[in-house]
């Protein structure tokens, strides 16, 4: 243990260690990694919301909502994510331009980051829809009915009764989807976002060490995957509170 009153040298400078500087590309790669994380989290949030909406549509009694949700999930899941990404990335800007022209506004330019979040969120929303639909159906019907009979309104029933129980059933599927989203962010470098792939490829190209930097990108993704596995384990424990494990 350090004795009390140790004085740190006043001129403590933060130096990037040579090993971490990666021939000067360390900061870029670090920024790229952060962009990748932000992109995945943003897409996760959007697809989570779209998934809940889609599941509501699929489980609703209105035929139009049902049909729209079914078309959404069928078409999106039948087209490769990269094709959709290119299709939406190029078309979103054109549609946006047409809209702003029509409304007489100034042109709004979509940056690759926003476009990436919108397209990834839109694509994986379809996968989340299926996950949530299955999970909602797994909650015993009596739970919602009991809550309604206690005088809760529909909002409250959803928030207090259905959602927390649904999450437990949805978590394995959500965890899977999250891993897929995380890996799908690698594609966004193709539409020009400077994520971890772009940073490592640039570094590799200019230092002539493609192999080293490509493997580094893979390692960064591996670390992200392992870290998120840990978080998922914690969440699983949190939402399984009050559920008895089967023991023989």
């Amino acid at each position: 243990m350090r004795p009390h009153g140790t004085v740190f040298p006043a001129t403590r400078t933060i130096k990037v260690r040579p090993m971490l500087s990666l021939q000067g590309y360390g900061p870029q790669i670090w920024d790229g990694t952060l962009t990748t994380i932000e992109l995945s989290l943003g897409s996760l949030a959007l697809s989570f919301a779209l998934g809940l909406l889609g599941a509501a549509g699929k489980l609703s009694k209105q035929p139009i909502a049902q049909m729209l949700a079914t078309i959404y999930t069928t078409i999106i899941r039948g087209i490769p994510d990269l094709v959709l990404m290119l299709l939406l990335f190029f078309s979103l800007q054109i549609w946006l331009n047409e809209l702003t022209d029509y409304l007489g506004w100034d042109q709004i330019n979509l940056d690759p980051f926003t476009a990436g979040i919108i397209t990834l969120g839109f694509i994986y929303g379809a996968y989340f829809t299926e996950t949530f639909r299955g999970a909602f159906m797994a909650v015993p019907k009596g739970q919602g009915e009991a809550a309604l009979s206690l005088g809760m309104n529909k909002n409250l029933v959803f928030r207090r009764i259905l959602f927390p129980q649904m999450m437990r059933f949805a978590l394995p599927g959500l965890a899977n989807n999250w891993q897929v989203i995380l890996k799908a962010t690698a594609l966004v470098s193709i539409i020009g976002l400077s994520d971890v792939i772009k940073a490592t490829q640039d570094a590799g190209r200019s230092t002539f060490r493609m192999f080293f930097f490509s493997v580094l990108a893979a390692l960064i993704y591996l670390v992200l995957t392992v870290l998120s596995n840990g978080v998922i384990k914690l969440l699983e424990r949190r939402y399984a509170v009050g559920v008895r494990k089967m023991t023989i």
Binding site: I75, L86, L187, R209, A218, Y221
Partner: protein, 234 residues
């Protein structure tokens, strides 16, 4: 739309006049990688369930590495990474192999899908009812016969729904081939896009083609499930 079809229609479907492109290329990529992946996955799945840690841990590491990183990164490592190594460039056979974008793509795709398929099959093998194995042993079957007659037929059947999912995802993954200069559907669509600036039609046509292939594959697998999983029907 019409002009794109007139100009690029043939390239979208099978050929641009010089080489196989478009749908034909995508299907060929899919078939090769899924076939190689399947052949690799069966022994690996058996090894994954082996009792000895010296056999099952290396397989676990392999699937962990390939399932934990994006396919795009794996393709980059194999296509641009490995080829940049001196040792590869100075070995004629390896040089010839890795210089071709197509070979690198197939290698990356096959290794990737083999990792996922291994886990699918390993799970199916693990869930074989123990009574079946006991019964086979009681009849005096050897290990090889046990796997060939009892475990694999039932495990592969049980894995079919999950496996069909993996094949569809692999179809979606073949879109990455264009980054290694393989002229699949998406490559043609990108060419059409840069020639006409009609992005929505160029990529929309590609999306439509992929959608059709997906539906055909789903239909085939549905028929296969009806045939091979007939005993599970109520």
């Amino acid at each position: 739309m019409i002009s794109i079809i007139q100009q690029f229609g043939q390239a979208y479907l099978y050929s641009d006049g010089y080489q196989m492109t478009g749908v034909a290329m995508t299907l060929w990529l899919l078939l090769l990688s899924v076939a190689i992946g399947f052949c690799l996955a069966i022994p690996l799945a058996i090894a994954r369930n082996a009792r000895s840690p010296f056999i099952n841990i290396p397989v676990w590491i392999y699937t962990f590495l390939f399932r934990g990183t994006p396919l795009y990164v794996q393709l980059l490592i194999i296509y641009t990474g490995i080829y940049s190594l001196d040792a590869i460039q100075h070995t004629p056979a390896l040089n010839a192999f890795f210089r071709q974008g197509f070979n690198c793509t197939i290698l990356a795709f096959a290794l990737n899908t083999a990792a996922y398929t291994t886990e699918i099959f390993a799970g199916a093998i693990k869930s074989t009812p123990f009574g079946e194995i006991e019964a086979a042993r009681a009849l005096g079957m050897s290990r090889v016969t046990l796997y060939r007659r009892i475990i694999l037929p039932s495990a592969l059947r049980r894995a079919l729904p999950t496996y069909s999912n993996e094949v569809i995802l692999m179809l979606h993954a073949t879109t990455l081939a264009f980054t290694a200069t393989v002229p699949d559907i998406l490559k043609v669509a990108r060419d059409a896009n840069s020639a006409t600036y009609d992005s929505f039609d160029a990529f929309g046509l590609a999306a439509l083609l992929y959608l059709i292939i997906s539906f055909v594959l789903i239909g085939i697998f549905r028929r296969a499930e009806r045939h091979y999983l007939a005993f599970l029907r109520p």
